[in-house]
Amino acid sequence: MNTIPAPTIEYGTLAPLLVVFGAAIIGVLVEALAPRYLRKAIHMPLTLLSLAGAFALVLVQVLRGQVSTTASAMGALAVDGPSLFIWGVILVLSFVCVLLINDEGHFVASAAAVPGSADEEQAESAGGGHTEVYPLVLFAVGGMLLFPASHDLLMMFVALEVMSLPLYLLCGLARRRRLLSQEASMKYFLLGAFSSAFFLYGIAMVYGYAGTVSLPGVNEALARGAALDPLLMIGLALLGVGLMFKIGAAPFQAWKPDVYQGAPTPITALMASGTLVAAVGAVMRVFWVGLGNLDWNWRPAIWGVAALTMIVGSILAITQTDIKRMLAYSSVAHAGFLLVGVMATFGTAEQNAGSLKAVLFYLAVYGITTVGAFAVVTLVRDPGGEAGHLSRWAGLGKRAPMLAGVFAFFLLAFAGIPLTSGFFGKYAVFAAALESGTQPGDSMGGWMAALVVVGVVASAIAAFFYVRVIVLMFFSEPSAEGPAIAVPSMGTVAVIAVSLLVTVGVGLYPESMLGVADDAARSLFIR
């Protein structure tokens, strides 16, 4: 009679996760039990508190120096330095996104109601909006936390779904332009499900090769296995498809513009920041931890993906006419830049920590700038909702100089102009990539330099469309009846202010953020 050994769960280490998920479940209960008029009043503090609490718990772990060096939860999760850093970033990003979400008017009162029908009017008049947004966001955030911390592929798949499913729904909840929102939701869902099937099949292949889905286990199997099994290669490719889809790398980027454009802007902000951070974290973990011994095989392929992503993202963004769509393509391009960092692996742990630091830093600064940019987008409104079309932004610099100035600053940060945080992010990954290319005996040397040059060219092209928006805002005469500038709520003001402060502050003195990223990266991923 075999007894099943009781699993050991490191509650202290996993506390941030538990807090978020717990709050999410409480949120569901609130939806079920609390009266409609009370729900928001309960949800908002609950959500914010849980996120803040989780962040505090992350901080406690870091400050106490208790970063675990072994896998937790029976080898299912790895709450190592990078994970904690990513968690911290995601929690901050989602906290500010929740502040945006909290703003009135972004979400439909009743998603089920047909637009323009009596049902909708009734739901509108009942007020309150869709309060299930909050628990959905918490679930998604929980998934985001789980995703990069997964220590085995199964966990990763589950995390992927936990992260994605609420987002599919959230995308469809925009109050204005319902058709677009629903379409975004459906496309995201179908394509997400499609790609996660690939991911899953990839897991199956890898499992078939290695006999395990634990990442270190896979890596060990790779070290042992002499022959390069086609099974493994296919599995690897399919795993890659799932991950690349999530970060929106070309040629898997197609969903991004549509979804970013259609989704309610606070959710777009969450996806563009939190999801990207989580997904890149997961990519790093899979490729560095799980496939570290195979880097000679995957680096050329990722080289192509990274180059293609940067170029496609930059070029396609040029002719966009919708601000959110443009930012979506910008996000594609940035995914490419991040992949350049992902490729910067070395032989030694110390050097790897340098590359890891670069990517982590990039994620943090890019995420916060992105949220700020989308927060500005929420404020520029037409009667029918946000003024998405770029022509409506013409002359904004005269109408609302502060707002336009802040947005211009975010755009410059995206473009990587020095004295903004974005510059140091870009610098960090390019430097890491070049450094990894000059290792003795590294035949990727020239290739890495070439990739960086491609990245630089893409940056120059990308600068064009960022600059184009600035031209529109500042150098064009305002149209006769321009968009209204919504009076921002305290929350939105706070979001923009925080983003701006971080973008400026890190731009002037990146050392503090770099130091944190460095500490996080130094412990490296648990293997």
Binding site: F194, F198, P230, L238, V241, M244, P257, D258, I315
Partner: protein, 633 residues
């Protein structure tokens, strides 16, 4: 020891030590007049004259101090300051050559300043005129006094600037503006030569100071190249072929300007340059010297021919100036033997040509600024002083015996016949032509019937104008004899430019001299027949092919236009087109290309979810393929 050039001695005290004041006085004058502008309107011209006279006074004192030194001590260097550290020290070289020029410049310059008080009295911008004149004097003095090529060049361009400003003084006339620009640009062609010449001097000898260059006796390719480049510079400034075309147009400037700059001083700068560099780059009998002589001979003929056909009195005189400077260049191309005559002619020419120009100005002053000689005639009675002084100048320039021009020009001709017979005889021919065109000018202006318009009231000029004329005509009378007889000038200049192996003696009855006189007489007689005795038509007759040739300045402008200006304009247009469409076209095309590909690529994003799924599938296939491929390598 072929060249006998004295060593340069450093000098700190005395008037020579203060010789920078010569430059400073007029410079201060120009500065005050320009900067304080309208405030100086009432007394500006007086300041200008005073500064010029002060400069003259310094020059005279410096001259006497210099003469006080022994012959071998007569090259005094005054160090001013370090200009380009390690390369050029700015300093002045006071030697017989430069002091001669300084005396001429400040002396004649002062007279012309005084004359201008009267001539420009009705011009509202008289103060500015004097500022420019002062600026010119300062620059010209720097040109001749500087002890190195860079200082010379600064003065060189400074006089170019003053010339530009003064030719274009009546800039509201488009013709004046064009003439000013043309003068400057053509001069710049010469400057190109001078500049490259300096590069070569520096590269070869490591110095640009006159005092550090060594006289040479034989030529090598480098010095030949330097010589030819300097000659190009000299041609520009001295209006020698092929860069002569600007001088005739330069007559757009007020007449005192023509007298001072385009006759007496600035245009002789080329001669100065050649003589100053003579020992270093134009040794006697060298190719470079021969080139100088050839250019001089060619120009003296060309200028004379042009002078024959001009009805504009100033242009006629301008042609004559070209021609006379041709003589000087010819002299300067003959080595130390010719230098003294060249400089002598330069000095006497300074007097008589200034006299002639100012006389012409006096005529114009009385004739409502009419310049067409066909509208003159019979003025000798109405303007007796002008006539008398002009006539002395006339006699001097045609080489009437015993007047200034006789001695100096004859010296050049004789030396030329001796050294370069062909060129020498061409110079004789030129003298004959001079006799013709100058006589023509005198007859058309002062003799014959009056042909002027009814509204003209010819009258004698005020004494502020006539007194300078009288002084100048005195110079035209006797200076030549003083300088040439007993080789006074030659011996004076010797420490600076060297002396010929045997001193020339002046023969009153040499063959070339007599031939010259004969030809001049023929020319003058011919002119009398055509313009003195015969009626002068007041409208220009068509004239023969040759006349047209001369009237068109020997087609020099036409040549320049078809060789340089039109191709230049085409080149410019082509370059602008290339820049806008070619280079910028590529840049904009690249941008448009990226934009266009973006516009096309975004069509791939069809909006159909199934297409997106297909792209994922294709991506998956590609990724798999890539990995399998890499795995198998």
């Amino acid at each position: 020891m072929e060249s006998h050039i004295a060593e340069i001695a450093q000098h700190t005290g005395g008037v020579i030590g203060l010789s920078w004041l010569m430059i400073a006085f007029p410079l201060v004058g120009a500065f005050v007049l320009l900067v304080f502008g309208r405030f100086t309107n009432r007394w500006g011209h007086l300041l200008g004259v005073a500064m010029s006279l002060a400069s003259f006074a310094v020059a005279v004192l410096a001259f006497f101090e210099l003469v006080g030194f022994g012959e071998e001590q007569r090259r005094r260097a005054v160090h001013l300051y370090e200009f380009i550290p390690g390369m050029v020290d700015m300093g002045l070289l006071i030697d017989p050559l430069s002091i001669s020029f300084a005396l001429l410049i400040t002396g004649v310059g002062s007279l012309i300043h005084i004359y201008s008080i009267g001539y420009m009295s009705h011009d509202e911008h008289r103060r500015r005129f004097f500022a420019y004149l002062n600026l010119f004097v300062a620059a010209m003095l720097l040109l001749v006094l500087a002890d190195n090529y860079v200082g010379l060049f600064i003065g060189w361009e400074g006089v170019g600037l003053a010339s530009y400003l003064l030719i274009g003084f009546w800039q509201f006339k488009p013709s004046a503006a064009v003439a000013a620009k043309k003068a400057f640009v053509v001069n710049r062609v010469g400057d190109f030569g001078l500049l490259v010449g300096m590069f070569l001097i520096w590269t070869t000898f490591g110095t640009l100071a006159f005092g550090e260059l060594q006289p040479i006796t034989s030529e090598n390719p480098t010095t030949l190249a330097i010589g030819l480049l300097l000659l190009l510079g000299a041609c520009g400034k001295s209006a020698q072929l092929p860069l002569q075309s600007w001088l005739l147009d330069a007559m757009e400037g007020p007449t005192p300007v023509s007298a001072l700059i385009h006759a007496a001083t600035m245009v002789t700068a080329g001669v100065y340059l050649v003589v100053r560099s003579g020992a270093f780059f134009f040794p006697e009998g060298s190719g470079a010297a021969l080139a100088v002589a050839i250019v001089g001979a060619a120009t003296l003929l060309a200028g004379a021919i042009i002078g024959c056909a001009k009805d504009d009195i100033k242009k006629g005189l301008a042609g004559s100036t070209m021609s006379q400077i041709g003589y000087m260049m010819l002299g300067a191309g003959l080595g130390p033997a010719g230098y003294a005559f060249a400089i002598g002619h330069l000095i006497t020419h300074g007097f008589f040509k200034a006299d002639l120009f100012l006389g012409a100005g006096s005529v114009m002053h009385g004739m409502n600024d009419e310049v067409d000689m066909r509208k003159y005639g019979g003025l000798r009675k109405l303007m007796p002083i002008t006539f008398a002084t002009f006539f002395i100048g006339y006699l001097a320039i045609i080489g009437f015996p015993l007047l200034s021009g006789y001695f100096t020009k004859d010296g050049i001709i004789e030396t030329a016949v001796h050294h370069q017979p062909i060129l020498g005889w061409l110079a004789v021919l030129g003298a004959g032509i001079t006799g013709f065109y100058m006589s023509r000018m005198v007859f058309m202006t002062f003799f014959g019937q009056k042909r002027w318009a009814d509204d003209a009231h010819p009258h004698e000029s005020p004494s502020v104008m006539t007194i300078p004329l009288m002084i100048l005509s005195l110079g035209a009378l006797g200076l030549g004899a003083y300088l040439v007889l007993s080789n006074r000038l030659l011996l004076f200049l010797a420490p600076a430019v060297g002396r010929p192996e045997e001193l020339p003696a002046f023969h009153f009855t040499s063959t070339p001299g007599l031939a010259t006189l004969a030809l001049v007489a023929v020319g003058a007689a011919f002119a009398w027949m055509r313009y003195g005795r015969a009626e002068v038509p007041s409208v220009q007759p068509r004239g023969s092919f040759l006349t047209t040739f001369a009237r068109r300045d020997l087609y020099g402008d036409a040549l320049n236009e078809s060789l340089f200006m039109r191709p230049g304009q085409w080149l410019t247009r082509l370059a602008v087109y290339f820049d806008n469409r070619g280079i910028d076209g590529i840049v904009n095309g690249l941008a448009a290309g990226i934009g266009g590909s973006s516009g096309r690529l975004r069509r791939i994003q069809t909006g159909f979810a199934r297409t997106y799924a297909l792209s994922i599938l294709i991506g998956a296939a590609l990724l798999t393929g890539a990995l399998l491929l890499v795995g198998n390598i």
